[in-house]
């Protein structure tokens, strides 16, 4: 275990002593803030119009929880799909480019320890990102009364989604020496994943349609954002993380054979 913590600690220190992570998180927060206040603004406008028209039957549908909290978190997931691969792209690619991977591979440690140590560091960073994200919705608690549990479960599923993308990006990063390639590939994959269910709707075969819809991460994200936490969705993200970390481990092992 001490190896895992040593690797994780080194990763974290390097993330927080170089500007990359700060810049990326800053950019994410800027756009997330923009999304959040835009959706809050349109919500307020909509409520005013409903009241002016006296169409009170729509007020039920236009609630703060669905229209601001859930919608914003849903959009944040798209932002994370771009930011997380950029945070994770250094992972192995940078070590291969600078040659420091030779220290890891000639130390008495296993490939699994390397992969888990690095992933743990990213997970901690993403926990920080999720905590920062929660500041937006926390603002709503000052002025309104969103539902606490639904909001928390939304943040939790957002965090799990980010972890899944991070696991995929770690694997991608272990395949190349180029951080840029790793970053771009990671983003492309996370966007393609978003379109899987869309592709599913066009599919003729029912089995394929269901499979594609099930494979899309947003299929498993949306219910929890609306307050419906299903164990099936939690399992989905756990499977993605474990599967891609195993692939990353195999890729690190194969570095020894190349």
């Amino acid at each position: 275990m001490s190896h895992v913590f040593a690797i994780c600690g080194r990763e974290l220190r390097s993330m927080f002593t170089t500007p990359d992570a700060y810049v990326l998180i800053g950019v994410y927060m800027f756009f997330a803030g923009f999304v959040f206040f835009f959706s809050l603004g349109s919500f307020i406008l909509a409520i005013q119009q409903i009241q002016a028209l006296g169409a009170t039957q729509y007020l039920e549908e236009w609630n703060l929880q669905d229209k601001v909290v859930a919608d914003s978190l849903s959009t944040f997931s798209i932002l994370l799909g771009i930011v997380v691969p950029l945070l994770a792209m250094r992972g192995f690619a940078a070590e291969r480019a600078t040659g420091s991977i030779e220290l890891l591979l000639t130390s008495p440690i296993t490939s699994a320890e390397i992969v888990i140590g690095k992933f743990l560091a990213i997970a901690i960073l993403l926990a920080v990102v999720t905590a920062l994200t929660s500041l937006f919705v926390a603002l709503l608690f000052l002025y309104g009364n969103p539902e606490v549990w639904q909001t928390l479960s939304g943040l939790q599923i957002l965090f799990l989604y980010a972890l899944a993308i991070a696991a995929i990006s770690s694997f991608v990063s272990s395949l190349t020496r180029s951080q840029i390639v790793a970053g771009i590939l990671g983003i492309v994959i996370s966007i393609l994943l978003l379109f899987l269910p869309v592709a599913g709707y066009f599919s003729q075969s029912e089995t394929l349609r269901n499979l594609l819809i099930w494979l899309g991460p947003n299929t498993h994200l949306e219910p929890a954002l609306r307050g419906d936490v299903r164990s099936e969705d939690l399992a989905y993200f756990a499977i993605v993380v474990v599967a891609f970390l195993s692939l990353a481990r195999a890729a690190v092992d194969s570095l020894r054979w190349s």
Binding site: T18, E102, L103
Partner: protein
């Protein structure tokens, strides 16, 4: 201390080294000499467990590198051709990290890091960020990383490549001291004859992936100029290699 038996490494169709065998006793300082692309780095990478051999076996400190890599790696210190540094780390932080990875117990880490810093003359820069160090100092940090866990075997891949004459002299003296310090077994690769003469007691000459010569330096020097011998051996290897290739294609 080190036993290599019939090592062969193939990369696809390319044979990097072929049937290389040697034995190195405890406390020996051996120069691994050969022209560039002769197979020196490949051999060293196999010795350190960085890559596996296609066939043959290696044991270091009594541990088979393929079967018990963790034990073998614990007794090996390795400085690759490019020091495996993290530019954003402080020197002492980095050494602490290397010590942890090499299973130095928590209570001893601070002492061992301090010792490695002292041995490699890094006291003045131990609080500096590695990125800001000169090439000579980076090489020293690389060496410190290789000795921080007190390995019985030290494997150094071209430790003086790219340094200026003063730095080369310093690093050579440092290696000699590190070898003497604890009766360490040292293998260092180089393509510079003078380096072998300055540091080593025994020389292994490798060319075109094959071991051409294994002899004590004193005995070789008695026979005449080393430089001459090196060139003629490589020349001979080249002729055989080309001749063999010609026969193969005929």
């Amino acid at each position: 201390m080190i036993q290599a038996r019939a090592l062969t490494k193939r990369y696809g169709g390319l044979t990097a080294i072929q049937n290389v065998s040697f034995e190195i006793a405890k406390g020996e300082v051996v120069g691994f000499l050969g022209p560039n692309a002769a197979g020196k780095t490949t051999t060293m990478r196999i010795l350190t467990g960085y890559i596996p051999a296609s066939s043959g076996s290696v044991s270091v400190g009594g541990f088979d590198v393929a079967l018990d890599p963790r034990s073998a790696k614990r007794v090996t210190g390795y400085l690759p051709e490019t020091p495996p540094l993290y530019p954003e780390m402080l020197v002492h932080e980095y050494l602490h990290y290397a010590a942890t990875l090499h299973d130095v117990p928590r209570g001893e880490r601070r002492d061992k890091v301090a010792r490695a810093i002292a041995s490699c003359g890094l006291e003045a820069v131990s609080e500096r960020v590695i990125r800001t160090l000169s090439k000579g100092y980076r090489q020293r940090v690389g060496l410190a990383q290789a000795i921080v866990h007190d390995p019985a075997v030290l494997i150094l891949d071209e430790p003086t490549a790219g340094l200026d004459p003063i730095q080369i002299d310093e690093i050579r003296k440092l290696i000699t001291r590190l070898a003497d310090e604890q009766g360490r077994t040292v293998i260092l690769s180089t393509h510079i004859m003078g380096e072998v003469q300055a540091i080593c007691k025994r020389v292994l000459l490798i060319a075109f992936g094959k071991l051409r010569l294994d002899a004590a330096l004193d005995a070789l020097q008695a026979q005449g100029s080393l430089e001459q011998m090196f060139l003629s051996e490589v020349e001979k290897a080249k002729r055989e290699e080309l001749g063999g290739a010609a026969e193969g294609s005929a």
